[in-house]
Symmetry: D2
Subunit: 267 residues, 4 copies
């Protein structure tokens, strides 16, 4: 494998969210890793500039063990409200995170369903409305639905994070059609969050026009998480480039890439 590419980064292709100008379109999560030690290597290998983390994972009483210490400099922390079952709980977690010095970004995650951990769009909208008013940069995790996305947009969300499949399922873009419509109809960045299990699936989301993807389980449960983080990094870039390069049309029949006749007559 030989990937010392020099010139693939058009300087104007960055993602603007909450005032930040992101060059990486791979967001990563920090859950499920077998040890804290591997997390910084994964973060570095991913090239990610936005890292999400459940506040529960922060070991407040044991600061030297704190995962926050492993965050690379210049990385944006995106605390999530995992564990919240209502808007009020999500708001409370967000405020605690901010008070603890985690900044003003927040990924809203409100889940009432315990089997598929699907986000509740109603509570998510209410939490978004409140936290935007309080000055947070709000990225809501949501069940892909155009009406919900429109309301989240109107409420001031900075991006929309629809799921591709249930969290941790590694099952890819099961909701592809709805995500396609969100990308087409919503002007906010669409960040596919949850379900992506393979680098190819991340690339496909980007080719569809997603602004970014968030990956956690697929990296954390890989045989070699650091290597898998690199794989996702390349895949996200590849998918983004594929989108920008303008893919050719699909055809039902064949179209010769080599001339079909004439060789033997002229050879």
């Amino acid at each position: 494998m030989n990937d010392t590419i020099q010139s693939v980064n058009p300087s104007d292709d960055s993602l603007l969210i909450g005032g930040a100008n992101l060059h990486s379109r791979l967001f990563v999560g920090t859950g499920k890793f077998s040890s804290h030690e591997i997390v910084p290597q994964v973060l570095e290998a991913s090239g990610s500039q936005v890292v999400t983390m459940a506040l529960r994972r922060v070991d407040w009483k044991n600061p030297q063990e704190n995962i926050l210490n492993y965050m690379p400099p210049n990385t944006i922390l995106l605390p999530n409200t995992s564990g919240a079952r209502t808007a009020e709980e999500a708001v409370r977690i967000a405020r605690l995170a901010q008070a603890a010095g985690c900044g003003n970004w927040v990924k809203i995650e409100v889940v009432q369903d315990q089997r598929y951990l699907l986000p509740d769009n109603w509570e998510t909208l209410r939490a978004t409305e409140q936290l935007v008013k309080e000055g947070f940069v709000v990225l809501p995790y949501m069940s892909p639905d155009l009406g919900a996305a429109r309301r989240l947009q109107d409420a001031g969300a900075s991006a929309i994070m629809p799921l591709g499949a249930p969290i941790g399922s590694n099952r890819g873009l099961q909701t592809k059609e709805l995500i396609r419509i969100l990308i087409e109809e919503i002007s906010l960045p669409i960040i596919v969050d949850a379900g992506i299990g393979r680098p190819s699936e991340a690339a496909e989301a980007m080719e569809m026009g997603a602004a970014a993807v968030l990956v956690n389980t697929a990296i954390a449960t890989a045989g070699d998480p650091v290597f898998m983080a690199q794989a996702f990094r390349l895949a996200v870039t590849a998918g983004r480039m594929g989108y920008l390069a303008g893919p050719g049309e699909r055809r039902i029949e064949a179209a010769a890439s080599s001339p079909l006749t004439g060789f033997l007559q002229e050879g």
Copy 2:
């Protein structure tokens, strides 16, 4: 996009075909480009070490216009027998290519069907048998079928090149199940050739365990072929790394990546 990755190339992951030790797993074709001028840029951007070309495309009477002049040094030329309808025609083209100084690699392409340009496995096998005897490094393009692949292997082919979808269709891995079986049951390298239309599809083929992919139309018909070649380069590496990293299992239900309870009680 920020991809100045240093350490993703495990020195032991190379592809051995016909005595060559390949670091790139992206083979590219040279058909369908709007101009000769863009080809060398595409080849360089792709990082490819194996380039296929129909002999018809070589302008023997006008050597300074010859596409062979654009081949980067240290690139292996893989002449293809495009235009052949029988084993005999394919053998004749291969010999002419060799006589013209194109080396001893050959991609056998024997097509009798004019609508889908599907390869004929019978004629392909006969051509393979003959050309292996003559000392060629033979890579047969074939319709994915286990029995045919076994015979090509027994005949001394150096790799097997099943199609993902009809040539030039950009429709991806339509024959996924059969290719999966070939990868599992055949010990030769499996190189997916034809049909791949998006970087994500190339990545998926690699994640399945394909040894390499050959891409032509998807690059040639892209809005920016050079940029698309880079996208495919990254995607192939990403897919290969995903395969090597050992993907996590897929699950029907969700599995929390963040803890679901306990935060508020302990906050």
Copy 3:
């Protein structure tokens, strides 16, 4: 084709909605047909007991042309609120339908999106809450989402009608994963509405455990709508029977259905 089956109707497999005991699990719509004359033939061929209709289609000033005249006896009319953009408009349409003698069933359809005609789950919920209070049997058309379905259930809906794909697209079960989860997690009947374009897709929805399907465009735009209505009738029954019969498990490898060895030795 020979389908004079006698004994396929277990007497206990009926669908109970709003006090009605339905034997047919195919609901049909009356839009888009080239002429009024064909509608009664389609209705009869479909065997449907529930027929949806936009009130606008009723020609109040020209009663003898009225499509209501074509309704077979013992068929339940399911007026829909097509054209409504808000809950209030939907409620108003439902009341008008009831006042006009169309009964107390209503399919709520509130659409704000003009390109994909996707239902708005928020307005749909509000209309459901109101109309249930007024004694209607409410069947809301909705964008598949577990949280929305739970709220509609709590509000007293009689069934949930998630879309498979945008109305009129004939693109099948694009939202399969979300519908699967609704079937598993919601105790109300799940009726797949919109998008089903082929009999096989209706059968698949039934095999997944859907309680019924609603089909309109696929029948109305077929070359022979009457014949297609019969095809859907059989497909829905086939899918339901497949579900009840208990399908065998899927396997990655083969499993011989015939013995593989021993014949020649013993023959």
Copy 4:
């Protein structure tokens, strides 16, 4: 479920194979059933006119237990050469079947691969050539490939039986694209054999234009095989009718089936 349809059988839609005029397009197999007793009920429920059976299953020494006794009158027996690994073995089995009074139809099944039980197209072709010469009505089971199908057609096969997925896998139409091409390019009847696991998948094959399907494992491994046989019977008819009725086109965007505006203004 109410399926006493009267007029769905256009008298001119029959399938002509080997001189027989078939009204049922569902072929069934007799392997894997838990007991002999259930087989005649399954055959009757399926409405099938062609039944395949491995000769090994015939208990020659115990004639009263013989499955042949259970065959409904006017059913065509299609002995298969299951267990054969070469053309010669297949030919020998076919001759034995004929000598034993099983008629002159034969399904050629030559398998060398023990994991996926994939048919070997080379040996299958050789057996076809020989048995056609001997006057058999030959239906070869094959790995879907256009070149192989053309050769089988030229050799005098009466139909082509490509697999949808490995035998007994219940995984459906994994080879859909190749089967689609066979249906388009080959003038013989295409009968999808192996892999079909659900009634909806049988319907889909028929909608694609397959002439018939052969189902065994999906029925034999169902919770209620007799009921599942009825389900497949209806599904095959539904799919065939869907094909004949002329399906409407698929659209990316929505198309209203009900009028979107005007109601409230006129109500």
